[in-house]
């Protein structure tokens, strides 16, 4: 069964804006939420999502499954995700190509993997297991990183593409993360885009970074940078008008600011559609 988000610019829905969305019913083509924020057994947050899903396509985006961890897959976590998928019937389900726990301790952060054959085999098996449990395809997202590892024997994009090809998952390409990593590690963002088979790309993420430290930090706390808009334009040239999400997770601004960011993304999407037509 094919599930597609609208080929338009959606928004990451965060708690401060839920009551506004319920009351004002703003024109937004789709919303993405963090899956774990709705793992509760019941209560008002879940009830609000029940209402929102009747009016908007929903994408469930996980931040805590720890796909790359060498600990056993957390079956309780997958059970909660599965329960939420059954309840919300999302258009898309995605997770990050990272690890966040080992020896039982969770860091609740998106930690980068060394890009080795062992890590590749491991992640592919885990993605397959998750897809089997959920009974559906998921998307995996490339993460930002502040480190590269001498152990790595593959480039990041080679690893990302192999995971999708071998496990049958789709790709959620975070254009900001590609830009951040290229700046942090001296890679070529356009070569990265060129290596991704367009047919694998089902969603794009955009967000803002922080440039005040020793390297770019993917804070999701600022407007999308001009260089990232430019890279996004080139990504659309390669991948076509792919559903695109604006993410903003720290120093969350008022809803209208998010809508303006989404409108900018929408204008790029429409320009791409016009060129392609």
């Amino acid at each position: 069964m094919n599930r597609h988000l609208p080929n338009s610019a959606g928004l990451g829905l965060r708690a401060p804006h839920v009551s506004h969305v319920l009351a004002a019913h703003p024109s937004v083509p789709w919303f993405e939420v963090h899956s774990e924020n709705y793992f509760a057994d019941g209560g008002p947050a879940l009830a609000a999502l029940d209402r929102i899903r009747t009016d908007y396509p929903i994408s469930l985006h996980g931040v805590g499954l720890s796909l790359g961890s060498t600990d056993a897959l957390d079956t309780a976590h997958i059970a909660k995700l599965s329960r939420l998928v059954d309840r919300i019937q999302p258009t898309q389900v995605s997770e990050h190509l990272c690890w966040s726990s080992v020896n039982g301790r969770h860091f609740n952060d998106l930690l980068p993997l060394p890009y080795t054959r062992e890590a590749l085999d491991h992640v592919c098996a885990r993605v397959s297991a998750v897809q089997d449990c959920l009974g559906r395809e998921i998307l995996v997202e490339n993460v930002s990183s502040y480190l590269t590892f001498p152990e790595s024997t593959m480039l990041e994009f080679e690893f990302v593409v192999e995971v999708a090809v071998r496990s049958g998952c789709g790709l959620l390409i975070d254009v900001n993360n590609i830009y951040v990593n290229a700046r942090n590690h001296g890679g070529d963002a356009d070569a990265y885009l060129a290596a991704i088979p367009p047919a694998l790309v089902a969603e794009i993420h955009l967000a803002g970074f922080d440039a005040s430290g020793p390297c770019l930090i993917d804070t999701h706390g600022a407007p999308v940078a001009p260089e990232v808009w430019s890279l996004y334009e080139r990504a659309l040239r390669r991948f076509g008008a792919v559903p695109t999400l604006i993410e903003w997770d720290t120093h969350i601004p008022e809803f209208a600011v998010l809508q303006r960011e989404a409108a900018t993304a929408q204008s790029y999407l429409e320009a791409e559609l016009a060129v392609a037509a």
């Binding site: 774990e36 924020n37 793992f39 509760a40 057994d41 019941g42 209560g43 008002p44 947050a45 009830a47 931040v63 805590g64 499954l65 720890s66 961890s69 060498t70 957390d74 976590h77 909660k80 690890w99 966040s100 726990s101 080992v102 020896n103 039982g104 301790r105 969770h106 860091f107 609740n108 952060d109 930690l111 993997l113 060394p114 080795t116 062992e118 890590a119 491991h122 502040y146 480190l147 152990e151 430290g213 020793p214 390297c215 930090i217 720290t250």
Partner: protein, 248 residues
């Protein structure tokens, strides 16, 4: 090259170590990890954070995160042991009410995440009407899953109230007050906090522990000699504190 498992174990150790030898880039991850915990617990324990100030609070969260690992990929459920941690945190020794305020804030958070109950007051009243009179005291009740009890010798509800956003009244807090027996629960989708009478507290807590109505009534009368069972039962069924008969 170490195995992926060895590699992750080493990375985790380096991330937690945080001494002067930490690689500058590992330190970025360390900062992000700890700031995620500070942010998450700062939202849940917002009044505790106001009471002690951000620097104290952040240091307490850092110490807690090192001592009590997060065991779950869902950060929303991390922090349940933070009240206990504060109770024995040496730097909070002069703030005897702090752990109880934290218990209240955790109860509010947990109440918001609790399961919804399908039963209605009418269905419970119907079930009770079918109980033979002589078996009334043998009945056991399930409370709404959102119910959490907080008992404190300190005026934690008053402390919590005057630290809510927009509170404009008198901030003065008298320490010379009766103990707080609080019930945190959801009503109509919103979390509410009630101050219970000693009798109501004894009755509901005893029922919540799984004891039958007879034992709960004994506890309530012991706590409050003129306790009125029927009034309390009617009110607690109507507002859904009592959700179902056990075994239903």
């Amino acid at each position: 090259m170490p195995s992926l498992r060895e590699w992750q174990t080493r990375f985790a150790a380096a991330l937690l170590q945080g001494d002067g030898d930490t690689d500058e880039h590992v330190a970025i991850y360390r900062n992000t990890v700890f700031s995620n915990y500070r942010h998450a617990l700062g939202a849940t324990f917002a009044v505790v954070k106001q009471l002690v100030g951000a620097p104290f609070f952040d240091a307490a969260v850092d110490a807690y995160a090192l001592a009590v690992p997060s065991l779950c990929g869902d950060l929303n459920v991390y922090g349940g042991d933070f009240p206990e941690f504060l109770a024995s945190y040496p730097h909070a020794r002069d703030l005897p009410y702090l752990a109880d305020v934290a218990r209240l804030e955790w109860a509010i958070d947990a109440a918001a995440r609790a399961a919804d109950v399908a039963g209605t007051p009418e269905s419970l009243l119907t079930a009770l009407a079918n109980v033979p009179a002589e078996q009334g005291v043998a009945q056991r009740f399930t409370l709404d899953p959102s119910c959490h009890f907080v008992h404190s010798g300190h005026p934690v509800l008053r402390i919590w109230q005057v630290h809510q956003p927009g509170f404009a009244g008198d901030m003065a807090i008298s320490s010379d007050v009766a103990p707080d027996y609080l019930l945190v629960r959801r009503e109509g989708g919103a979390v509410i906090i009630e101050r219970l009478t000693p009798g109501d507290h004894a009755l509901l807590r005893t029922l919540n522990d799984g004891s039958d109505l007879g034992l709960a009534l004994d506890a309530a009368v012991a706590a409050e000699p003129d306790f009125a069972l029927e009034t309390t039962l009617r009110a607690r069924i109507a507002n859904r504190t009592l959700a179902q008969l056990r075994g239903d």
